[in-house]
């Protein structure tokens, strides 16, 4: 075998090795590429799952929020009603507060429009108070002296 034969043979061996090496490299690279693709799909699916989980969470949170808003509206309405009642009560209280112009002699009270009304009429109109009429001992003495004397005599016995 000549030396150029040996050279040629060696060159062929080297080329065969290179082909084999590159073949292995190519196959492994292809496998890694496929692996990366499946990993990509993994990640993508995970992402999808995460998004749908998140959406569910948001839906639940949203439902809760709607309930809360309704609850809040209801208490707000109740509060408004209460405030209205209070305001009304306040107005009524206000009518009977402050200065009441009253006649020093006949005790009639003057209202905002300048009309003089009996004290019981005025108070009945501006409050929930009701009047039950009676007569005090001083007035009995003044208006019915005889009845008054008779009354005294009886209670002394």
């Amino acid at each position: 075998m000549s030396s150029s034969d040996a050279d040629l043979r060696q060159r062929i061996q080297e080329l065969e090795t290179e082909v084999r090496h590159l073949g292995n490299e190519l196959r492994l690279t292809r496998e890694e590429y496929e692996d990366a693709t499946s990993k990509y799909l993994d990640i993508y699916c995970n992402l999808e799952k995460k998004i749908s989980e998140r959406t569910r969470e948001l839906d639940a949170a949203n439902g809760k929020l709607v309930l809360e808003i309704e609850e809040r509206k209801r208490t707000e309405a109740e509060k408004e009603q209460l405030i209205a009642q209070l305001q009304k009560a306040m107005q009524e209280v206000k009518v009977l507060s402050g200065f009441l112009p009253i006649c020093a002699s006949c005790k009639k009270i003057r209202d905002d429009s300048g009309y003089w009304s009996q004290i019981e009429e005025y108070i009945s109109k501006h409050s929930n108070a009701l009047f039950s009429h009676g007569i005090c001992p001083d007035c009995v003495k003044k208006l019915y002296p005889d009845f008054h004397a008779e009354l005294r005599r009886r209670t002394k016995k």
Binding site: Q10, Q13, E14, T17, E18, R20, H21, N24, E25, R27, L28, E31, E32, Y33, D35, A36, K39, Y40, D42, I43, N46
Partner: protein, 294 residues
């Protein structure tokens, strides 16, 4: 040995020291990534969970993933994108490489030794072992990369924790040429293979890796089922030293042992030479792009 004083710290004592030293800071992430590498059913979400436990890691991964070394056409903005564009396996390698590189920072060169040289050597052995697996055996060789990267972890443990004694030892090796393991044995009573093996066992590394680290200078000592794997690490270690990627001045073991292991693995020298060329090119690229420096 001549000129070196014996240290009185035992192997067990040294391994205990490791647990309380800064070396142990890489334990969680490295342990996690190694089990992901050796578990074929591991999913990308396992990897993402692991990365999330180590916040500064994300930025480092993205920096490497976007470096011109990987030269993807797209800017990689998060781990998901990194997974898609540079792949699951490469990403695991980047993480392991980043975490391991943390151990090799600093230090001053003494004699023929420096941490940077040791790191270059480790990267070279990792790439060579992996490329042999890929090109010759047609397998991914992720474990071979990990074992190559970590095989001399015992050396960095000695450098970090028995610093004075170790620096003295590398100085002595300059004057009295002998294999590093011989020097270690007379100086410490154990060598970096044993130290690495102890650490790998304590940190629950996969069995193949424990043997790869523990027996890289003595593959026949490894379990039968891991022997070819360990021989690949031995060959890669030997060849990287020969190629100028050593880290300490020392005579290499008898070349006949190397020849024997090459035959055991069914490798042809012209095929190995072609692989060495690829690795040299790759290492050159790594050094040029500055990815080498931790």
């Amino acid at each position: 040995m001549d000129g070196a004083k014996k240290t009185n710290i035992s192997l067990a004592g040294l391994l205990e020291l490791v647990e309380t030293s800064t070396l142990s800071s890489i334990k969680g992430t490295v342990g996690g990534i190694l089990s992901l590498i050796s578990d074929p059913t591991a999913s990308s979400s396992d990897l993402i969970k692991l990365i999330e436990l180590d916040p500064p890691l994300t930025a480092k991964i993205l920096r490497v993933a976007n470096s011109s070394y990987y030269a993807t056409s797209k800017t990689i903005g998060d781990i998901q994108q990194a997974l898609i564009w540079i792949g699951f396996d490469t990403l695991k390698e980047i993480i392991l490489t980043q975490k391991m590189s943390e151990l090799y920072r600093g230090g001053t060169p003494v004699g023929g030794y420096s941490r940077l040289q040791l790191w270059r050597h480790s990267l070279g052995v990792a790439l060579l072992a992996k490329t042999i697996y890929r090109r010759e055996f047609g397998e991914k060789g992720n474990n071979a990369y990990a074992a190559g990267l970590m095989h001399d972890i015992g050396v960095i443990v000695e450098d970090q924790l028995l610093h004075r004694e170790f620096m003295h030892l590398v100085q002595v090796l300059e004057d009295i040429p002998q294999p590093l393991t011989d020097g270690e044995n007379s100086c410490f009573g154990y060598d970096h293979g044993l130290v690495g093996k102890g650490l790998a066992e304590n940190w629950n590394f996969p069995a193949e890796l424990i043997d790869g680290i523990g027996f890289h200078h003595d593959p026949e000592g490894a379990r039968e089922e891991h022997r070819l794997f360990v021989k690949t690490i031995f060959i890669s270690d030997y060849l990287m030293f020969e190629q100028g990627y050593g880290y300490v001045a020392m005579p290499l073991p008898d070349r006949e042992i190397l020849q024997q292991y090459v035959r055991d693995l069914g490798l042809q020298w012209y095929a190995l030479r072609a692989i060495i060329e690829i690795v040299r090119e790759e290492l050159g690229k790594i050094e040029q792009k500055g990815y080498l420096i931790a």
